[in-house]
Every structure is written in structure tokens, then in C-alpha cells.
């Protein structure tokens, strides 16, 4: 058990705050996407009401190193033995909409094991659990916005959305960024997965180029010889309408 997550403090320097840019059409999922059945009862039917950004939207919780334990970034050493599966290193940068690093921001991940089973009481997929794998990690980005996790490649798994439905292998990501409006929860996929075309969760994003932003790249530079394959996944959070002067 880890200690509860306590934000270190509120976001300082409100004097420099400006609003955040809105998303371009097609670059985010359609909230109501009937092929993903659960959206039929859970997506709003009324249009969202446009909210000009106030201090409430432009500030957000800040987390610190005290929220991270030593092994949180390495999902392969959290138990007495080694988990089964293909060892991988997932790393990348967190950037804002202008390409600037987002430093010291919390990145949380969770995933299925190599057999496609989550260590979760409600996952009843008849694939083996791995006593050496929980599938939970967290890290803070460094000063240049870099994060890195050591883990194992998750398996694909079936779900009951439609006949013979399978989710492509993925890792869930959760990020905060500097403000309430930069909060992002998403999923990272692996290159060349044949299940992409059949997955309504990925296909809910209208723009093909936008969908590709969720697919990690194999990366020989971060591949560790005789140990683990490297996958690179850069994440872009929303940028400000006008960037205040640096420093």
C-alpha cells in the first residue's frame, strides 16, 4: 500500500495566467459514439456550454516527489519475482501546445498483464493472473518533460462490446499538466496492431492523424541491449492562448 496522494500546493504565479487553447475539430473523440456501446447511456445529449477560462480553470493541483515511491516507475520490480512477458521501456516527453516541456507533472499508468488480464476484481477474462505483476506505475516528468517506465508489454483482451470484440494492447495514461483544463486521461497503443480498425474506442477519434498520436513508436535508441525493447510515446497537453514571457 502506498501513502495517499496529496497535492503539494496550488498552482502559483496566477499573475502570468492566460486561457488555454480549444481543441481543433476531429482531434478528440466524439463523446457519443454508438459503436462504443457504453457511450449510448453515458455521453451527454445536450451541447456543452462554452466556459471562458477563469482562475478556476487556469489553476490545478500540483504534485511532488513525495507522491512517488522508488519503484513506482518500474512495474517489473514491485513484487518478489519477475513478471512474465516481454520487458519494455515506455518513455517520452510531455509537451504543451507550443512544444515546450511540461516539467514535474504527474504521470500515472495502469495496464493488463502479458496475458491480457487486469489485476482487478471485476476482470473475469479467463487468462492467468501474474502474482508478480500489478500493472500500476507513476512518475514525475523531469525538468525537460521526460518520463520513463519499465514494464511488460500488455496483452490484447476480449470485451463484450460487440461480437468477438478485442481491445488492442494498450497502456492507460493519466496526466494533470498545469491547470484544471489540461487534465488528460488517454491510452497508448503499440505500432502495427491489427486490432486498431476494429476498436471503437480508438475509432471514436474522427481524424486518422489524431488517432496515430496515440500509437507509440518502436525506438532503438531507448532499447536496452539484451534487456528490454524501447517504445516512445510523447504526450501533448493543451497550450495557452498566448504564452507569457519565459522566466
Amino acid at each position: 500500500m502506498s501513502s495517499p496522494l496529496i497535492p503539494a500546493k496550488g498552482k502559483p504565479s496566477s499573475g502570468l495566467l492566460s486561457g488555454f487553447r480549444r481543441h481543433e475539430p476531429g482531434t478528440q473523440p466524439d463523446s457519443f459514439y454508438p459503436a462504443y456501446r457504453a457511450t449510448r447511456l453515458r455521453a451527454p445529449s445536450q451541447p456543452l456550454i462554452f466556459l471562458p477560462h477563469t482562475l478556476s480553470e487556469m489553476t490545478g493541483p500540483v504534485f511532488g516527489h513525495s507522491d512517488i515511491r522508488a519503484n513506482d516507475h518500474d512495474l517489473t520490480v514491485q513484487h518478489s519475482g519477475e513478471p512474465l512477458g516481454e520487458r519494455i521501456i515506455v518513455s517520452g516527453r510531455v509537451l504543451d501546445g507550443d512544444g515546450h516541456a511540461v516539467p514535474n507533472t504527474l504521470v500515472e499508468i495502469w495496464q493488463a498483464n502479458a496475458a491480457g488480464r487486469y489485476a482487478h476484481a471485476k476482470d473475469d477474462h479467463p487468462a492467468p493472473l501474474d502474482p508478480n505483476f500489478t500493472g500500476t506505475g507513476r512518475a514525475l516528468t523531469d525538468d525537460r518533460g521526460f518520463y520513463s517506465f519499465m514494464t511488460i508489454k500488455p496483452g490484447a483482451y476480449p470485451w463484450r462490446n460487440h461480437d468477438n470484440a478485442w481491445r488492442p494492447a494498450h497502456i492507460h495514461f493519466s496526466l494533470f499538466g498545469p491547470a484544471f483544463v489540461t487534465r488528460l486521461v488517454t491510452q497508448m497503443y503499440f505500432p502495427g496492431d491489427p486490432l486498431f480498425a476494429y476498436d471503437p474506442i480508438l475509432q471514436s477519434i474522427p481524424d486518422e492523424k489524431a488517432r496515430q498520436r496515440l500509437v507509440s513508436k518502436f525506438d532503438l535508441d531507448t532499447t536496452t541491449p539484451e534487456w528490454a525493447l524501447g517504445y516512445r510515446f510523447d504526450i501533448v497537453l493543451r497550450g495557452r492562448v498566448s504564452t507569457p514571457l519565459e522566466r
Binding site: I6, S14, W110, S174, T186
Partner: protein, 192 residues
């Protein structure tokens, strides 16, 4: 790679899926937004998430972000509240679609063009079937400042009540806030 093509379009959102607890709440939930040392009127707010058929949503997560009792988001090191006030909370919903946070009623925060906002809590709803995080606001029923709040003024009058938490007659300091994701009395969600 993203870096080489200078493409800084924000990364798309995806659902948390049904197993969000593993990553976000099993050992990482925060039900107490304000610890006992924090200044302000102490409240316990019960959220209840319902789907388009009014069925409870047992696999959602609620996140809160709010100002302190002085209407300030710059709490933390330099202020009297210090570590007593987190300003942030998150909990998974239970089988009945509910979760209860302990916090303090926030103060009034400056709004646009010399206005002052009524006490409110910024609320996110995430979960299975929710592809884009839903953002709403909780206001307190009976609060006189609601009448001049610049954000409530953006909401059609007949839908404003969906943003008002109601006092819980069974509990001193208790409030209840129902979030209806879809349907006739659907909660107002904001494009933030």
C-alpha cells in the same frame, strides 16, 4: 516522431475503461479535500452519478478542484492553510454510483471583468463510456451569490438547478449532488 514534425496538436483523450481503480484510486484516492486544520465551513458532499436510464454508474471517478475558504487557489506553502488544504480530491463511485468527499465550502473567486464568482467546486467525471472527461461545477443551493455568478449566467435558466448541490436533511453539513450523464434532466457540462 512528434518532435520532428513540429506537430503539437494535443493528444486525444480516451476512456479510463472499467479498471481505473487499479491506476487511480485503489491506493491513490483522496476523499478529504480539506484536513481538520483547514479554515472554513466544513461540508460533506455526496455525489451520485446516474446514466441515461437513471441507473447508478458504479465505475466512474469524480475529481474535485476548489479554492480555499478565502477564494484563493494559491494555497500551499505561503498561506495559513498550508498542508491542511489540498484543494484536490478524487474518488471512485461505489456500486450505488455514489462517493462522499469531506471538504470546506470554498470562498468566492474572482471572475472575468470585475465580477466575483459564487462559491463553487470544479468537478470532473471520468469512467467507462466517457471518452472525453466531463467537466461541470457544483454550486450551493440557497447561496445568495449564485444570483450574480458570471458562469451560472451562461447557463439557460431552466437547467441551472442541475448545478446546485442540495442540503442533506439527514446530516449536518451534508450536501448531495446528483450528476445525470444523459437524459431529460441531464447535468450541465461545460466546454472548458
Amino acid at each position: 516522431m512528434t518532435n520532428c514534425t513540429m506537430d503539437w496538436t494535443p493528444t486525444p483523450s480516451q476512456t479510463t475503461g472499467p479498471y481505473l481503480h487499479l491506476g487511480l484510486t485503489d491506493s491513490r484516492s483522496i476523499s478529504r479535500v480539506a484536513n481538520p486544520g483547514a479554515n472554513g465551513e466544513r461540508v460533506w458532499i455526496t455525489f451520485r452519478v446516474l446514466d441515461g436510464e437513471e441507473a447508478p454508474v458504479p465505475d466512474a471517478m469524480i475529481e474535485l478542484w476548489q479554492a480555499n475558504s478565502e477564494g484563493n487557489y494559491e494555497f500551499g506553502d505561503g498561506t495559513s492553510d498550508g498542508a491542511a488544504f489540498a484543494g484536490f480530491g478524487r474518488m471512485a463511485t461505489a456500486e450505488d454510483g455514489s462517493c462522499t468527499f469531506e471538504t470546506i465550502k470554498p470562498g468566492r473567486v474572482p471572475g472575468p471583468r470585475e465580477t466575483t464568482q459564487a462559491p463553487h467546486i470544479n468537478v470532473s467525471v471520468l469512467g467507462r463510456g466517457i471518452l472525453n472527461r466531463l467537466s461541470t461545477r457544483l454550486y450551493f443551493a440557497g447561496e445568495p451569490a449564485n444570483a450574480t455568478d458570471p458562469v451560472l449566467a451562461l447557463v439557460p435558466e431552466d437547467r441551472r438547478a442541475t448545478l446546485l448541490a442540495q442540503q442533506d436533511s439527514n446530516r449536518a453539513g451534508g450536501w448531495i449532488f446528483d450528476i445525470r450523464l444523459r437524459g431529460e434532466s441531464e447535468t450541465v457540462f461545460f466546454d472548458v
